[in-house]
């Protein structure tokens, strides 16, 4: 892991092709880098790299990124056992939530140099009487990390949520999580915004964006504060962001062109997207698919309508013709697709003229209609 991060670090700094990177990592002392920018001693070694502790170091490439399912689930903090029971920090849960913020892991693990994740105490001195006043003390750092968000949640200090008095039974973690997970507002399947425009109603089909259009929560919620979702105070006000910001990343919107505005703004509630308007009515099979099963990327552009453009392995024998509503009789069972669907153009009317004179579809059916 250490190697990986160091490697990534160099990758971003030097910006050379991948093969070259590996070589530079091995001999990065020869790279055009200023040693003192990272190392504090003259002769750093692998075992004691004497890396600079920040905050001067602010390269974005150093921001920690680690998938939430790879991190430690629970962290036991038992440094104050003489006063309180140990607090159990739900690390993975917080790591998952951090994906909604701009900082990600670095919202807590700030200014971590390349390599292992450093414990807070490496930078934040525990004593109140400390040499370097510019770096906040350990106690302040810990409380700042937790309360920065937790006070937003309840608008109280809630000391006992973390510090359970010695000898007392700590709150069961599940109940605590349940309580904490109360959301500021419910996740609505549909949100109707009333604006002050001429066409005041904007309907946002929240569930369709996730279930059908294939968007993940973090695709839109990527710059959120904790209290956007968690705020249990009575006068909570979910702060709406600049309204066009999120939509515009997919929906073209030009304030000069009214047509683009009307896509979202209307005088009444809009139904969710119906594929019919594109001129391609979805059948019962296609209807169930997520948009991204056929369309790729975030731009849903026109696709090739030929069946085999997607169904590449369709040929005689591997396709159950019954789904089209026609079951072949024994005379037609063995036919190749192209015998009737000339040039395998499945969207066009099948032709009987290759074998039969004066017989046309759909006056005569090569078998039985089942629907």
């Amino acid at each position: 892991m250490r190697t990986t991060y160091a490697f990534l670090f160099l990758l971003c700094i030097v910006g050379q092709p991948l093969q070259a990177q590996k070589e530079i990592y091995k001999n990065h002392a020869k790279a055009p880098l200023d040693c003192n920018e990272c190392h504090t001693c003259q002769n750093p070694s692998y075992k004691s790299p004497c890396l600079t502790l920040f905050p001067e170091f602010k390269r974005e490439s150093l921001t920690l990124r680690r998938p939430a399912d790879e991190v430690e689930a629970l962290v036991k903090i038992d440094t104050l056992m003489q006063y309180y029971e140990a607090s159990i920090f739900k690390h993975k849960l917080h790591a998952e939530m951090s994906a909604f913020s701009t900082g990600g892991c670095a919202s807590c693990h700030h200014n971590n140099p390349p390599g292992d994740i450093l414990p807070c105490i490496d930078c934040h001195e525990p004593a109140a009487e400390r040499e370097n006043l510019a770096v906040i003390g350990l106690k302040g750092a810990y409380h700042g990390q937790c309360l920065g968000c937790h006070k937003q949640w309840s608008h109280k200090t809630d000391c006992e949520k973390c510090h359970v008095e010695k000898g007392k039974e700590p709150l069961p973690p599940t109940s605590l999580i349940l309580e904490m997970s109360q959301l500021t507002e419910p996740i609505l399947p549909k949100v109707i915004y009333e604006t002050e425009e001429d066409n005041p109603i904007v309907t946002f089909h929240h569930d369709a964006h996730h279930n059908q259009y294939g968007l993940e929560c973090i695709d839109c919620h990527k710059n959120e504060t904790c209290d956007r979702c968690h705020d249990k105070s009575e006068n909570k006000v979910a702060i709406e962001k600049e309204p066009h910001e999120n939509c515009q990343s997919c929906h073209d919107c030009d304030s000069e062109d009214d047509k683009t505005c009307l896509k979202c703004h209307d005088t009444k509630e809009k139904p969710p997207f119906n594929h019919k308007i594109t001129g391609w009515v979805l059948n019962r099979y296609h209807e169930k698919l997520e948009c991204l099963a056929c369309h790729s990327g975030t731009r849903f552009t026109k696709l090739n309508k030929t069946c085999t453009a997607c169904h590449k392995n369709w040929k005689q024998g591997s396709f159950d013709h019954k789904v089209t509503g026609v079951v072949f009789d024994e005379n037609h069972e063995e036919n190749d697709c192209a015998d009737c669907h000339l040039q395998r153009k499945f969207d066009q009317k099948p032709a009987c003229s290759e074998c039969h004179d004066e017989i046309t579809w759909p006056e005569r059916v090569p078998g039985e209609l089942v629907k």
């Binding site: 109140a128 006043l133 700042g144 309360l147 608008h155 000391c159 209290d227 006000v237």
Partner: protein, 297 residues
């Protein structure tokens, strides 16, 4: 009689004023030499304060005032009213709304600012209040006669008085935990503060630290260190994200609060020389005029 009564007062007034006017510079110069470069201070970063009021608890404990249970201090209903330091609470935390209903409220700790040029010490007619080398403004209970001039003089309305005590009522205010800080310790409130709202250190270092914080987070702080220049500078310094006036920290100029009144007040009685000389001159005038009268007759 050559010298009329009117003339006599005129002469006396001019002489008296000239003596009083000559003294002020001396008085002001002498009260300054207590300001050591190494004097300590506390930086209060109100943007970090969560209003847990543990400082109030620790302060009472450190000053032998009944502090009750620590958990009692979680009661946030006290924030409904604006509080001032009292005889049994030498520091208090107040809460201020932050405009928007959703924005986090702002908590501000209040205590003696430990002025570099303390008006209380200046007003004290028995010299009980003194500014110490380490920055603390403390008082000698044995010297204090309970005149409460300090309470009137204080630009921050800090000193409190034990009115409810009939016998030996005391003046009470934050003493910068002098028994601790004079021995190299840190104030009790600073020690307990979980959020490190309070940073104890040399005052000049704290000013630098405060500047750095403003520089690094210009959107978080208003560009002003309250106490850096207010009333000539104070040992306690404040940072905030909102105008200090809205946080009940009064807008003061940079002139030391004692100012001209101190020079006059001290000058008039300095070593008792001015009054004695005044009476000597008056006596002289009287003697001269009497002589004249006698010779004239």
């Amino acid at each position: 009689m050559n010298q009329s009564r009117r003339n006599f007062f005129k002469t006396a007034g001019v002489i008296g004023a000239s003596i009083a006017g000559a003294k002020p510079t001396m008085a002001a110069a002498e009260s300054k030499n207590i300001l050591s470069d190494d004097r300590m201070g506390v930086l209060v970063d109100t943007t970090r304060c969560i209003g847990c009021r543990r400082c109030e608890f620790a302060c009472r404990e450190a000053h032998d005032i009944d502090a009750g249970q620590m958990l009692d201090y979680d009661d946030r209903s006290v924030f409904d009213t604006l509080r001032r330091p009292e005889v049994d609470s030498l520091t208090v935390v107040n809460e201020f709304k932050n405009g928007e209903p959703a924005a986090e409220a702002i908590n501000v700790k209040v205590q003696c600012m430990h002025c570099d040029h303390p008006a209380c010490a200046s007003a004290c007619i028995v010299g009980a209040i003194t500014k110490q080398q380490n920055g603390a403004v403390i008082w000698d209970t044995d010297k204090c006669i309970g005149c409460r001039y300090c309470m009137v003089a204080c630009p921050f309305q800090i000193p409190a008085f034990e009115y409810q005590k009939a016998i030996q009522p005391r003046l009470m205010k934050c003493d910068f935990c002098f028994s601790r800080t004079s021995q190299g310790g840190i104030p009790a409130c600073v020690e307990i503060c979980p959020m490190e709202v309070l940073t104890y250190g040399k005052r000049y270092e704290l000013v630098k630290l405060a500047r750095k914080r403003i520089e690094q987070n210009p959107e978080k702080y208003v560009n002003h260190i309250y106490g850096e220049t207010e009333v000539g500078g104070t040992s306690w310094l404040y940072l905030a994200g909102k105008d200090f006036k809205d946080l009940a920290l009064p807008a003061h100029g940079s002139a030391p609060a004692p100012g001209a009144s101190e020079s006059l007040q001290h000058g008039i009685f300095k070593y008792f020389i001015p009054p004695i000389s005044l009476f000597a001159i008056l006596g002289g005038i009287m003697w001269l005029s009497k002589n004249k009268e006698e010779t004239g007759e």
